[in-house]
Structures are given as C-alpha cells and as structure tokens.
Amino acid sequence: MRNLSYSKAINEALFQTMEKDERVFIIGVGVNSPWYVGQTTARLYDTYGQMRVIDTPVSENGITGLGVGAAISGLRPVVTHARMDFMYYAMDQICNHAANWNYMFGGRLTVPLTIRGIVNRGGEQAAQHSQALQSIFMHIPGIKVVMPSNPYDAKGMLIAAIMDDDPVLYIDDKWLYDEECDVPEEVYSAPLNKGRVTIEGDDITIVASSYMVKEAEKAAKQLAADNIKAEVIDLRSISPIDSEIILKSIQKTGRLIIADGTWKTGGVAAEVAAIAATEGFDLLKAPIKRVTLPDIPAPASGPLEALYYPDYKKIVEVVKTMA
C-alpha cells in the first residue's frame, strides 16, 4: 500500500479500468483541460488517445446522450461533467433516458454508464458554479448515486461504478482532491450500496457523505474531548441508501444528526431523517438534527461564503444542543 491523493486515486481507477477493459472511454467538456478536472484525467489522453479520451464541444446534453447510447451498445462510458452546475443541461438524457432505459423495456437493455459529477465550490465562485446536486439525483429511480469521501473509496467505487450494469452517478468533490490515504495498487472495487462506520461511538450518530464526512470526523474528535462519543457514518452511496447501517447505529446511540453538503429542504438530510423517523422511530431518544446548507444559492463574497458552508464547528455546536 501507499498513500495516494483522492484525485490521483480517481486517475488510477481510470487508468486501470481503461487498461483492463477496452470498452471504457472518457468523454466530457474539459476532460483534457489542464485545470478543469484537476489531476483526475492526467495523462489518459496521451496513453489512450483521442478515441477514448474525448474533450468535447460545450454540448452537455448531446455528449451525455452519446454516453447513454454507447452504454446500451456495449461500451462503458465515463461521462464527465466538470461541475454539477452544468449537468442541468443534461437532465433530459440522465433522467428521461439513462434512468428509464432499463425499466421501460422490461430489463432488456442495461445502461452501464458512469457519470462523474464534480462538486466544485468555494473560492467565491457563487451561485452558478458551486452546486452539489446529489439530492436531485437521489430522487430519480433507475440511477445509483455514490459520493466517495476518501481516496480508497474514490478508487474502489469508481471501478465498481464503471463495472456496474446500471447508470451510476459518481460525485467527487474538489475539496477532497488533496486528501490522502492508503490506496491499494491493485484493481479493487468498493460497494455501491453500503455505508461505513468510520468512527465508533455510543452517544450520537452523525451521518454524512463525501466532504462532510471529514467535518463529521473532526467534530467527533472535538466532541470526544467533552466526553461525547459520536459515531460517524459515511453513507458512501446515497442511492440506494444503506438504511440498515443508520438504524443499527441509532439503536445504540438514540440520537441522530445528519451533516450534508447540500441544501436543506428536500435534501439528502431529509431522506436520512425520514428513514430514521419511519423505520427507527422507537430507537430515537431526541429530535433529529440537520446540518446543511441554508436554502439559498451560494453567495460570492468571502465572509458570506464562510457562513454559508457548514463545518465541523457547526456540527459540534448542534450536537451540544442535543446532549
């Protein structure tokens, strides 16, 4: 094992799957850009050439549909959107086509498509360049949605997504690109439907995904100093969502807080709260709490931005109101 950053883990997953499987190709606006997708696609073009690493016209809907069509005819496309904000243009192909193609035809045509949606926010980029849209896609049946929180999962889940026969929206977050951890060199896959307990604890359950897992872990460490033992659950997949792991944890803790990097209303945090309140109601000892973005677009101004994005301090603060 060796340490690898999140972005290099993505890059390695792409290299290894492309090497192993000639059906895999990458397509998207900016995939060969020196800056758009960071290191995640570095050197792929040089190795696999223009037929398999395709930097396209600014035509998000067209190229996403190209990916869907390629998938149903036997390829394994990785359609890449350098920002989730731009995916709004491609909603028809994602939601009306990729997500429906298998069901609508009674299972006769699978869609082994991976869509990478990159969350790229902060840095005063403002409303149209900051969005994390997992909650929208979580709601669409027929498409899986995963959000790796660390380099190990970033690699393993991307490989699993590409090998999976269903459309998978794989959401990576630029705020995680420099995170490092041990990452096996070999090809491996991480499950697309299982959460993981990253820190064990008895007092309160903090459910998070992607970048917010880091914040939850920091919060847990800080809470430990006050003798509050928080359990941190990394959802990893938000569709399907691993209800069991949530329920098992609140059975122990009786308290639930959800830390999610999207808007509050109708977001991932609402779904997790709903799962607990429907299936785990009797386990709960206190009101559930949500730590999310407020229901407003992202502001540009630095000081407002600092208020906008919740962090571990906010989690700690909210946990303390529950103790």
């Binding site: 035509s59 067209g62 549909g65 390629a70 390829l75 298998n102 045509l109 027929g142 899986k144």
Partner: protein
C-alpha cells in the same frame, strides 16, 4: 421537391422491391388492426400511428443489417417492424402484456427489440438522437462497421440537442444516418409556425453533413438515397442526413382522421392520401417484367394472418404479475425495497 430521386426502377431487383412492399403492407395492416382495437378502447396506451409514412421506415431499413442500430420516437411501430421486430411482441406490448417486447412496461411509445438492433423508442422529442450518436460512437470505437439510424420527426429539429448532435456526429465522423420524417406538423403546429426557415438543408449542411431531401412517400427514392449514404457511412465517411417529405393520415395520437380539430385541411390530407406510398410501390412492383401480380394476394393474405396471429397471441398472453412492478429499475433487484 426531391433532390434524391427514384432512378431507373429497372435497376432495383424485384426482390428488394417486394421486400419493401411486404414491410410497408405489414405496417399498414398491423396498424389498421391497431386502429380498430383503439376504437374499441381495448388498447389504452397512447398510440401514434404511422399510416402514410411507411415508405420511410421500409426504404431506410431495407439497407440495414440486423445488427445495425435503430432508434425511434413516439411514432415507432413502422421502424420497429421494418427493422425486423416481431409483430406478436409488438401487439402484446400495446396491450401491456408480459409477452410484449418491453414486457408490458413501455407501451406503444417505448418499443425495443435488441435482437434485431432496434434499440428503443423515446417519447421525448429529439431524445433518441443523442442515443443514436452513442451507438454510432460504439460502432466507430469498436470498428465493427455497424451503422446507426436515428428516425425522428420535423418537431425534433426544433430542439437544441438536435443541433448539438449534428455537430458532434460530423466532428467525430460517426457512422450515423439522420432520417427526418418531415410530415409538416408537430402535433397540431405546422412547421411554418415553428421555424423561421423551415428549409432544413442549410442547417444540416452548415455542419458539413451531406443532405438529401426525398419524397418520403416513394420507397424507391428513400431506398436509393439511403443506400448510397449508408455505403459511404460504412466506408468511414461520417454521417449523412436524409429528409423525407411526408404526411400522417391520421390524428397525432389515436386512430381518428383528426379533421374535426381544425388544424389541418381535408384537402391536404386527401392530397397526401392520393400519394399513398403503398399504392406507389405496388404499381412499381407490378410493372416489373418478372413479377406476377398474383403474388400480391398471397402476400396480403399471409400478412393479414400474421397480424391476426399477433392478436391471438396477445389475447392468450397474461398481464405482467405484480412482482414485475418493482423489477428492472436497477439490475440489483433487491435494492429496490419499498
């Protein structure tokens, strides 16, 4: 009107003509049966009949191999049949039976027959076009010589994604043939009320894609034009575009003649019915020296029987059982838990 034209009829083998005739008549007879059942309200799902446009599906698909890819729209019985999809599975699908080509989950607007390269109908205007780009891309990447076809209506040329696809197909020289069936209307709205310049040719040629407009009611013209295009496409010359001028005889949706609604004139419908594509190819076929017109009766009888059988098959089929409701949204079935 035609830039593409029928050429000398004699140059076309009788076999090809007959096959197209059979395809077209099959579509027509099938849909006449469907229309009858629609009037009886036995078929519930929305049905967009193809009557009057049969030459296009037949003329294009006559040039295709079984493993070439076809995508179509809400109005897709004709393309499904012309590509070789089974009548039984089609009829059963319209009735929502488990034996339907989409296991009853799609209905008329969502047909599929991957076994013959019919990769699906999309009920979203223009939504199928990027998909055909995708199968074309896979044909190119895998170098398997397969051609992809996107059938779509003039309505699809209103959508932005159509223009994205023209450019992408041309830029990457993808093996795709765009077939626009210009029946002059998108539902009730004529193309003149939707496009400042209804002439498609420049819009297509501006993307460096060869464009030919043909009489869409003339199967031979469609066939000849598509044949030449597909030959070039298979040679790696990139996409081509054929616009087929035609008209639908019946309502946008459902089996009625649609004259009461007021958006089109009886005389226009009559003009186009005069130019029936099936009458036309039959007259070509029967003029062939080596063709015995007695065969026509046999064909019609055989096809009627086939349609009848599809109907019987459907009647004998079951509806999907309730477990099927939750299946197929994703492949790992256990993951859809309610």
């Amino acid at each position: 009107m035609s830039e593409g034209f029928s050429e000398s009829i004699e140059s076309l083998p009788t076999g090809v003509l007959e096959e197209m005739y059979v395809t077209m008549l099959k579509i027509r007879l099938f849909e006449e049966k469907v229309a009858e059942r629609l009037y009886e309200k036995e078929i519930i799902c929305p049905v967009h009949l193809y009557v009057g446009q049969e030459a296009i599906a037949a003329g294009v698909c006559q040039n295709l191999n079984i493993d070439d890819y076809v995508f179509s729209t809400h109005r897709s019985h004709g393309h499904y049949i012309a590509k070789g999809g089974g009548l039984k599975e089609l009829m059963a699908e319209l009735y929502g039976k488990e034996t339907g080509c989409s296991k009853g989950k799609g209905g008329s607007m969502h047909l599929v027959a991957p076994e013959v390269g019919y990769m699906g109908s999309s009920a979203i205007v223009a939504g199928n076009i990027p998909l055909a780009l995708g199968t074309a891309f896979s044909g190119k990447l895998l170098g398997n010589g397969k051609v992809s076809v996107a059938f779509f209506g003039d309505g699809a040329t209103d959508e932005g994604v159509f223009y994205e696809c023209l450019n992408i197909a041309s830029l990457y020289k993808l093996p795709i043939i765009f077939v626009c069936e210009n029946n002059l209307f998108s539902t009730h709205l004529p193309i003149s009320m939707r496009q400042a310049n209804p002439d498609l040719s420049m819009k297509v040629k501006a993307n460096s894609i060869p464009f030919v407009r043909v009489d869409g009611n003339d199967a031979v013209a469609v066939y000849n034009t598509a044949r030449k295009m597909i030959e070039k496409i298979r040679n790696g010359e990139g996409p081509a575009f054929i616009e087929c001028m035609t008209f639908r005889w019946l309502a946008h949706v459902g089996p009625t003649p649609d004259l009461d609604v007021g958006y089109r004139k009886k005389k226009d419908v009559e003009y186009w019915m005069e130019r029936c594509p099936i009458k036309k190819i039959r007259s070509v076929l029967t003029k062939k020296k080596d063709y015995s017109s007695r065969k026509l009766d046999d064909i019609e009888k055989r096809l009627k029987k086939e349609v009848e059988e599809s109907f019987e098959f459907t009647k004998a089929s079951n509806y999907p059982n309730s477990q099927n409701l939750l299946r197929h949204a994703i492949n790992t079935e256990s993951e859809v838990i309610q």
